[in-house]
């Protein structure tokens, strides 16, 4: 298609323009790093005079592993994404995707231990945006951006067969069950909430929740705390019957990919050329991404739907306001995730306890003593973190309200559809539906040159 190639060139140009602008802005606002402080303990016993023959052992301080491996990872990611795009769009081969899945699961999952992954990289990016002292490695940044760029051009090929978390779930799916549409839409909202929470916690410095509750990292490393292993096992168990539960209902990166994939230049299609309305693919998708043609509703009055849509659009600000209210009230509870706030609470509890009983000192209070800070200084930091959380939780609430409101509006807008189509946002390009389409079989036969009248389909 000529238009498509023109558009892709234009898009690349626009992206490069963005890079140039971002670089310029960033060079303009150079930031500085903050210093650390630690209270020095005394040296109680001076060093003795030791014989001259005595050779003091040298303590080795091995440096961090080189970054070459991370660059190799980035190259592998780029290669896998390109290969996945080729397999989904050009080759249309589920078998090829399956092999790629096995490879990425083995490489990114078991060999590299599932770290660093684009899902967790969201938090690195947020950290880099909000904390001046935080330096984001280029490889992590590329891990974050590359799948998004691919999603803009070819849809969610990253989910399809590059993400080790997705492939782990995809490969264990043996008995897919369809999830009712209302439940699918409802559960899908959790991912947006999770993304909001992850951004809030990373921005305030409370920690990286996505990594804390990553269900498969313990499984990839075959070690980890009991909670992590149990979480991973239960996700895998569910994934045997309900396709990719993490990707559909929780994955915060999937939210970004979904949004970008909706406007993508091209994406996986069920049929190689045209839909013949045979309905064979209707139940092919285990992830509920196939949209059926809309029934002819020419004779149904449209008034009721219009009124509902109008009401929902009017209700959107109200839902957002409710979200803000809810977020604001839960800000203290959310702030409990922040280590400094927790420490301040523990120290306060400790101080209150000191008057009544002389139990062992809380570790947090002891730690504060070691750093040489006074409780008042700690409380001042706590107060500023709490203020951050008040603003952050309100924004989170607004985000959740917006997501719910927009979802309701989207559900009440009916789009006319004549063919069976894969929903570009929902489709993870696993390639299962290809084989269900009779047109696909025709195409394959043509390629093999088995059709009479097909002129030399030997294009490998």
């Amino acid at each position: 298609m000529k238009r498509k190639s023109f558009l892709s060139l234009l898009l690349i140009f626009i992206a490069l323009l963005g890079v140039a602008l971002g670089l310029g802005v960033s060079l303009h606002f150079q930031r500085t790093e903050t210093a650390r402080d630690a209270k020095a303990p005394p040296q109680r016993f001076p060093r003795p005079q030791l014989p001259r023959t005595y050779a003091e052992p040298v303590t080795a301080y091995p440096g961090p592993r080189g970054t070459t491996h991370e660059y190799i990872d980035t190259a592998v990611l780029l290669g896998a994404l390109a290969l996945a795009a080729y397999l989904v769009l050009k080759r249309r081969s589920r078998r090829g995707l399956f092999v790629l899945m096995l490879f990425t699961l083995a490489y990114f999952g078991f060999y590299r231990g599932g770290c660093v992954c684009p899902i967790g990289a969201i938090q690195h990016v947020v950290s880099a945006l909000f904390h001046a002292g935080y330096l984001i490695p280029v490889t992590v940044l590329l891990f974050f951006v590359l799948p998004l760029i691919f999603a803009l051009f070819v849809g969610r090929v990253f989910c399809s067969s590059v993400c080790p978390i997705g492939t782990a779930q995809d490969l264990v799916l043996i008995r897919p069950m369809q999830v009712p549409s209302w439940l699918e839409h409802g559960l899908g909202l959790f991912a947006y909430v999770y993304l909001g929470l992850a951004v809030l916690f990373a921005a305030t410095g409370a920690g990286y929740v996505i990594c804390m509750y990553d269900p498969f990292v313990a499984f990839f490393r075959l070690s980890g705390t009991m909670n992590m292993l149990v979480l991973g096992a239960s996700f895998l168990l569910i994934a045997m019957f309900i396709g990719r539960p993490y990707c559909r209902y929780l994955c915060p990166y999937g939210v970004l990919l979904r949004l970008l994939s909706k406007v993508s230049l091209s994406h996986a299609t069920i049929t190689p050329d045209e839909c013949v309305q045979c309905r064979l693919c209707e139940d092919a998708c285990p992830f509920g991404a196939i949209r059926k043609p809309t029934e002819d509703t020419g004779h149904v009055p449209r008034g009721a739907g219009k009124v509902r849509l109008g009401l929902l659009i009017l209700a959107l600000p109200v839902i957002i306001a409710l979200g803000v209210l809810l977020g604001h009230t839960s800000s203290r509870a959310l702030a409990g995730m922040h280590p400094t706030v927790r420490q301040a609470w523990a120290v306060r509890r400790d101080e209150a306890m000191k008057e009544t009983s002389d139990e062992e000192q809380d570790p947090s209070a002891l730690a504060l003593l070691r750093t040489g800070k006074t409780p008042e200084q700690l409380y001042a930091i706590e107060a500023s973190v709490l203020r951050q959380f008040e603003v952050g939780s309100s924004v989170l609430g607004a985000w959740v309200g917006l997501v719910i409101g927009v979802k309701l509006i989207a559900l009440s807008v009916r789009r006319k559809r004549t063919d069976h189509e894969a929903d570009p946002g929902q489709c993870v390009a696993c390639g299962r539906c290809f084989a269900y389409c009779p047109r696909e079989h025709l195409r394959l036969k043509e390629l093999r040159g088995e059709l009479p009248g097909a002129e030399g389909g030997q294009t490998t």
Binding site: K2, R3, L7, L10, I14, A15, L17, G18, V19, A20, L21, G22, L23, G24, V25, S26, R31, R36, A38, P41, P42, Q43, R44, F45, P46, P48, L50, P51, Y54, T59, Y61, P62, G63, P64, G120, H124, V125, A128, L129, Y134, L135, I136, P137, V138, L141, V145, L152, G207, Y208, A218, G224, T225, L260, V263, S264, L265, P363, S364, A367, R370
Partner: protein, 197 residues
């Protein structure tokens, strides 16, 4: 060029516009963050000033045994005969032997140097990062033993699971060019010991 094949509908136009905007935003983000990120990586490390030797380093690392190890700064060590990091509280004898030692993994070894002075070395292969010796040395000694993340072992997880469990928030991200935090010790006023202990 757009009109050659098939007409671009309004929906297509909006879609392409959104796609372009997203492309631009991604590019801008990459450019602005990439410039700063190009310089350095960040790694996890324990600030010995904050560490209270709670024992979580032994149990919470995703690696078994933990990537945290006890490190000995020989320059600070007093070469004490009765090392508080080596001997258990009130041992039967002040000699090497499992029943007298504090370390549960026998990772700390004692070697006689001269007179009453002894050298203590950590065997990293055996060390389990329980922090018992560090605590002993910290509370009653020179703090020459301290816990550090060993970067030849550490996987540098995005969210270190020990950092999550650390009650004193001693786990910090440091630039990869200075990956260790050595304890700052107030030098003693006393002269180097020769005989007196």
């Amino acid at each position: 060029m757009a009109e050659e094949k098939d007409k671009m509908t309004r929906r297509d136009f909006i879609k392409a516009g959104a796609c372009g905007a997203a492309c631009f935003a991604l590019g801008a983000g990459l450019g602005s963050l990439g410039e700063r990120g190009a310089k350095q990586d960040m790694v996890w490390q324990i600030d010995p000033g904050k560490c209270i030797q709670c024992g979580n380093c032994e149990t919470h690392c995703v690696l078994k045994p933990s990537a945290v190890k006890c490190v000995h700064a020989f320059g600070v060590c007093g070469y004490c005969e009765r090392c508080f990091g080596f001997f258990a509280a009130k041992p039967a004898e002040y000699t090497s032997g499992a029943e007298n030692e504090l370390c549960p993994a026998a990772a700390l070894t004692r070697k006689h140097v001269k007179g009453q002075y002894h050298e203590y070395t950590v065997d990293e292969e055996k060390c389990i990062a329980c922090g018992r010796c560090v605590k002993g040395c910290r509370v009653q000694g020179n703090s020459s033993l301290f816990l550090q993340v060993r970067h030849d072992r550490c996987l540098n997880c995005s969210q270190c699971s020990i950092a999550e469990a650390c009650p004193s928030h001693a786990f910090v991200r440091v630039p990869a060019s200075t990956p260790y935090i050595r304890p700052k010790i107030k030098p003693s006023d006393a002269q180097p010991r020769d005989k007196a202990s």
